[in-house]
Amino acid sequence: MYRIRRFEQTSLKAYNAGKMGGFLHLYTGQESVAVATISLLGENDHVVTAYRDHGHAIAVGMTMNECMAELFGKATGCSKGKGGSMHLFAPDKRYWGGHGIVAGQTPLGLGIAYALKYKGIPGCCLTYLGDGAVNQGVYHESLNLASLLSLPVIYIIENNGYSMGTSLARSSAFKQLLAQRAEGYNICWDQCNGENIYEVRAKTQAAIVRAREESRPTVLEIATYRYYGHSVADANARKYRTPEEIDHYKTYHDPLLLWQKRLIDEGILTEEQATAIDYEARAEADAASRFADESPFPEEADIFKDIYSELDHPAEGENAPRGTFFFN
């Protein structure tokens, strides 16, 4: 969690220094969700998420260097500078993005689960979405298909209370529990508080077992909170909610501090160890920022690479690529 938090702080600093452009959707405040859930995954389990994807990327084991360089648009980024903040990928770590369109990833997670079942692999796909995504049609189509086809997909709703500047009360007609909509699709659902990592892990584990052993989907809603705006370009970040609300969460509900305190209380961690972890995380993030800064941008010729597999890996002889692919 310290690594995610320090990565985000460093990326914000770099953004404000003009080192990157576009959107930057910070995960700060929500760290416990990605860490608690992804910490349970095994070698056959997969992850796909939306555009607030840095936390998941680091949790699956991507390096800060490749993530930061991607934010900077550098050739050393995980996507060679072609994806950006919202589109981090590491298929070697079974991390399938990083998707920019709200709920657009929800059928992709379904498809990954479909492929696992098709190939007879006992795994699952954790598919993350925000509270804003639950009102997109394709999410509901995915829930119906997940249940109908009995697929091992786990939808994790990271409910931070706001879809951009619109509160839950102003966006969802059924306000009690977003996960409860799963009942309409005959899908098991549950809800938990993201501050309590033991609870999140227990409920996620139940879903993973259901996926692996019964090939059944789950919808798990996890209450959380984001400290910054929707993105750092969110001009109204402190207008649709009060500064007091944000301060309240930071003071009393910070998942990182609560978890650290709990581990210290339980005798698992010492203050000195916690300080050392934080120190290392800061140093790692600073080094990643320097790495990204010193890395080269992609070459102009790279614009036309990584579009078609056929051109990136051309066959020879009669199967060689034919015709014009690009029209400049």
Partner: protein, 324 residues
Amino acid sequence: MALISYRKALNDALAEEILRDENVVVMGEEVAEYNGAYKVTEGLWGRFGSKRIVDLPISEGGFVGMAVGASMLGVRPVVELMFWSFAYVAFDQIINNAGCVRYMSGGQINCPIVIRGPANGGTNVGATHSHTPENLFAAMPGLKVVAPATAYDAKGLLKTAIRDNDPVMFMENTLLYGEKWEVPEDEYLIPMGVADVKRVGSDITLVAHGRAVITCLEAAQILEAENGIHAEVVDLRSIRPLDEETILASVRKTHRAVLVEENKPFCGVDAQLAAMIQEKAFDELDAPIGRISALDAPAIYSPPLEKIQLPTARRVVQKVLATC
């Protein structure tokens, strides 16, 4: 060679590829137990079972996205859209996910998916079911677009599309499903990006794709019989990638071109071709490039008017006579 229908050619291609590769899965609405809304998948469910031929509910956005996700892990879904007109409810999944995931991941992820189905008007079903979206999808780098005009091409191109590691939009035509052509019994593949000269001529080049090729062949016959004009008919077969060389070679020979498509004219496929020809063969042209497209209105229902909204052989003939 046996005469087989465009529909049967597609059916054979699917069956052969299912047998060849255990990762090929045919999925869509009514493809299995119903035997296909247009019977393209007839008999496949009985032959290969529910794992390989999968019925799905009416959720194009959901199941196209599901197929894209499955393809990222090496499944090779062949998704049937009952009509390509229904692709519009799955647009985000096709454009943003199938079309961009390879690029945005820096080439780390492949999306070997085929989306196929009829993309044509002319069947009295009104505007919502008569779209011809090949230009929309061909405008997206990352996607490939194929539109075969004959049973022979349909079979060879579909087999190639299924083996391809990039997302292929495969556009068929319900008015051709029952038409028959000679198709070899031995296996063959047709590469994408290779046009086919369907009729050799010396006086004018007609360029078309899909059913417009058949219209052009009919027009060419009329032109020869009535006007002594020998038209060459170039069938694109594949729109992206595009075989520019075959088009240009024909234009260099005939010095005149009329481009024919069942698409609407504005930003149509032929707008791209016209720009390309004038840029690369300007000095070869003895007349302005002509275009015949669907009349530029939403597809009309009224049957007699619908017939004239799509390009007709007579309209092609008139344009050729004005060009020659």
